[in-house]
């Protein structure tokens, strides 16, 4: 190996040789042998198959500073699926319905499979980021050039998106702090059952007061970051609804709902022009996500108010769920106001092993 630093497209492959991204389709011994045996009418050996898969995984890389970075196959899936869903959807109304339902079915099928087989998959987080980037780019470069949106409307939308990013970032930072807390705790009390700490089987960490693991944000949510999580949900819903309203009133025929609030009333002509169709489809996608997030937000607000974690809620029987969980014993419940103040004023030093309340 030479000591020269790698350019952004180069990497050291599994044979410790210097390689280039552009050469990804060249020189694969296993592929050669597999094709060779196919032509001769022989069976492709298992060795060749696994070798082929390994080489593919090894060469799947993105350019990065200091050498190309390897990416998992499952984490680049959303980058392919999402744009193709939006592009297909902009052909006609039936294609929109078709591509959206296909993706919805695919997601529900792959959800449990991925969590079981690859617990720490980045698939869902990449999905979130890709959606965000795609929707923002479509808005900035397709909807804005219709010249129908005012500067202040664009700035307000950016502010909402910025708020979401800040909250998402804080949620993840705090989740990392919790992980380190959990690790310390376990080291200091080896072999003992530690109260209040839950083992997350998805990210394999000990998390104090865990609520649930959010795959879309790729981190655990507990009392420490639940406040940021709820704020992030709120900003995301606001940004999605606002951007979809701006888009739909631009591409469709709007009417005045109340004073300056416009709503679309006739979208029958959007599929005649590609830009209009793409904007329309992205707006529909935004609304779909916004509805899902609203359900989650309402659930979070409700659970915090009654002082329960999502984990506990899921264990309840149907009857107690119908009674809104009020008939069960809630160990962490301290009353409506205290539940909320506990979440908003959470302090990480509260969980130091020495002054932790038993």
């Amino acid at each position: 190996m030479d000591d020269e630093t790698l350019c952004c497209c180069e990497y050291y492959d599994s044979f410790k040789e210097r390689n280039h991204i552009l050469a990804c389709c060249c020189n694969c011994v296993d592929l050669d042998e597999a094709v060779d045996s196919l032509i001769r009418g022989k069976k492709v050996s298992d060795n060749n198959k696994t070798g082929l898969l390994n080489t593919m995984q090894d060469r799947l890389r993105v350019p990065w500073r200091g050498g190309a970075k390897q990416v998992a196959f499952d984490s680049i899936l959303p980058v392919i699926i999402l744009p193709s869903m939006l592009l297909l959807g902009s052909i006609s109304l039936w294609w929109t319905v078709f591509s959206f339902t296909t993706v919805a079915i695919f997601l529900s099928l792959i959800f449990n499979f991925l969590i079981k087989t690859i617990p720490n998959t980045k698939f869902f987080f990449v999905w979130t980021v890709t959606s965000m980037v795609l929707l923002y780019f479509i808005f900035e470069f397709i909807v804005i050039p219709f010249l129908e949106i005012l500067v202040e409307e664009n700035i307000l939308l950016s502010a909402l998106i910025f708020g979401f990013i800040i909250c998402l970032y804080t949620t993840k930072i705090r989740a990392n702090e919790l992980t380190s807390l959990g690790t310390e705790e376990c080291e200091s009390s080896v072999g003992k059952e530690v109260g209040g700490f839950y083992n997350c089987r998805i990210c394999d960490n000990k998390i104090p007061d865990k609520d649930h693991h959010c795959v879309w944000f790729d981190c655990c949510i507990s009392k420490h970051n639940q406040c940021c999580f709820i704020a992030a949900l709120f900003f995301a819903i606001a940004a999605l609804l606002y951007s979809s309203n701006l888009t739909l009133t631009s591409v469709c025929h709007p009417f005045e709902f109340y004073k300056t609030i416009l709503l679309p009333d006739d979208c029958s002509d959007v599929y005649y022009q590609f830009e209009l169709a793409l904007s329309f489809v992205s707006a529909i996608y935004s609304i779909a996500i916004a509805i899902l997030l609203t359900v989650i937000l309402l659930q979070q607000i409700f659970l915090v108010s009654i002082g329960m974690s999502l984990k506990e809620w899921n264990k309840l029987s149907i009857i107690s769920k119908l009674c809104l969980g009020l008939n069960t014993k809630r160990i962490h419940n301290r009353g409506f106001l205290k539940n909320w103040s506990k979440i908003i004023c959470w302090n990480k030093y509260q969980y130091h092993p020495l002054n932790r309340e038993v």
Partner: protein, 309 residues
């Protein structure tokens, strides 16, 4: 330190590029509602009316403007049957506004029906003296909106109309106070259009509905005849006006609201930028003074039809 500066500069450049005002719809300067009446130009009563009538007053109409709900546009309206050829002279007072409304048209009979039904009742409520001219292009060439307007305008001018309103057939005024009269300077009337989210796409937009004095229209030699297809002719007309020191303006958005009847966005004329350059040079010989096509005039019940071959 340097990398930090570079990053800050990059962020600034991106911000400016993203929020650049020209990428967005614009706020614009306008004549506030109270000053609108001072801007209007009037004529001395129409010859047909009797002398004992007092002059019509338009102040209340403008200041007490109401909004027509979009759903009411297609409803049948009650209006007095105008004189043959679509001319109306108010009888309750002596009109001091005399306007020719020129509508370029081809193959949109459904829209024309709605337009005529709505406009007669709308304009009669304003108690102005008006006449509707519908200019129809009857040949196989692509639609030439500007040329049709030129023919309509030349007919209207020959009939001594001092004020022209150049109006698209698919635009419906929603504010009752949007007076169809000319002002000192050419006026862009449809600045608050529903398909544009009631915003103005760009400051030099000068299409849709325009009010201009006949004398000014003749001064700039009308619109260019070179624009076939959709788009460009209004921008060209704007530059013509500017080069003759006629600076268009707009009235309060409150009285400038319009609805577009059918909202399909049509493919744009690819050559329009080329034509735009060409037309600026040929300003003097291209316009009102080189209309060579044959046309005939039919007096219909509700409008004057000018058919251009």
């Amino acid at each position: 330190m340097i990398t930090r500066c570079v990053r800050i500069i990059c962020a600034l450049v991106i911000c400016v590029a993203v929020y650049f005002p020209a990428r967005h719809a614009r706020h614009y300067e306008y004549i506030p509602l109270k000053k609108v009446i001072q801007e209007l130009t009037f004529v001395d009563g129409t010859p047909h009316s009797e002398n004992h009538l007092r002059n019509c007053s338009y102040e209340d109409l403008i200041l007490k403007s109401k909004e027509v709900p979009v759903s009411d546009i297609t409803k049948p309206k009650k209006f007095e049957l105008p004189l043959r050829g679509g001319e109306y002279i108010p009888r309750q007072c002596n009109s001091i506004i005399k306007t020719a409304i020129v509508v370029p048209y081809r193959n949109r009979s459904e829209q024309l029906q709605i337009f005529l039904n709505y406009m007669h009742s709308f304009l009669q409520q304003q108690s102005i003296h008006y006449k509707l001219f519908v200019v129809e292009q009857n040949n196989s060439l692509p639609f030439n909106r500007a040329q049709m307007i030129n023919y309509g305008a030349s007919v209207a001018i020959s009939l001594n109309y001092p004020c022209l309103v150049l109006h698209d057939v698919d635009l419906i005024p929603l504010s009752t106070g949007n007076i169809y009269a000319c002002s000192e300077r050419p006026r862009h009337m449809s600045s608050s259009l529903d398909t544009f989210r009631y915003n103005l796409p760009y400051l030099t937009l000068f299409g849709g509905a325009i009010a201009i004095l006949s004398q000014q229209y003749e001064e700039v030699n009308g619109m260019s005849n070179l624009f076939f297809g959709w788009g460009g002719e209004d921008d060209d007309f704007y530059t013509r006006l500017i080069s003759h020191n006629l600076f268009p303006y707009r009235f309060d958005p409150e009285i400038s609201r319009y609805s577009m009847l059918f909202h399909r966005k049509q493919p744009k004329n690819e050559e329009r930028y080329e034509t735009l350059k060409k037309s600026l040079k040929e300003n003097k010989n291209d316009g009102l003074n080189n209309l060579h096509r044959k046309y005939y005039i039919v007096q219909e019940d509700l409008f004057t039809r000018i058919v251009v071959f």
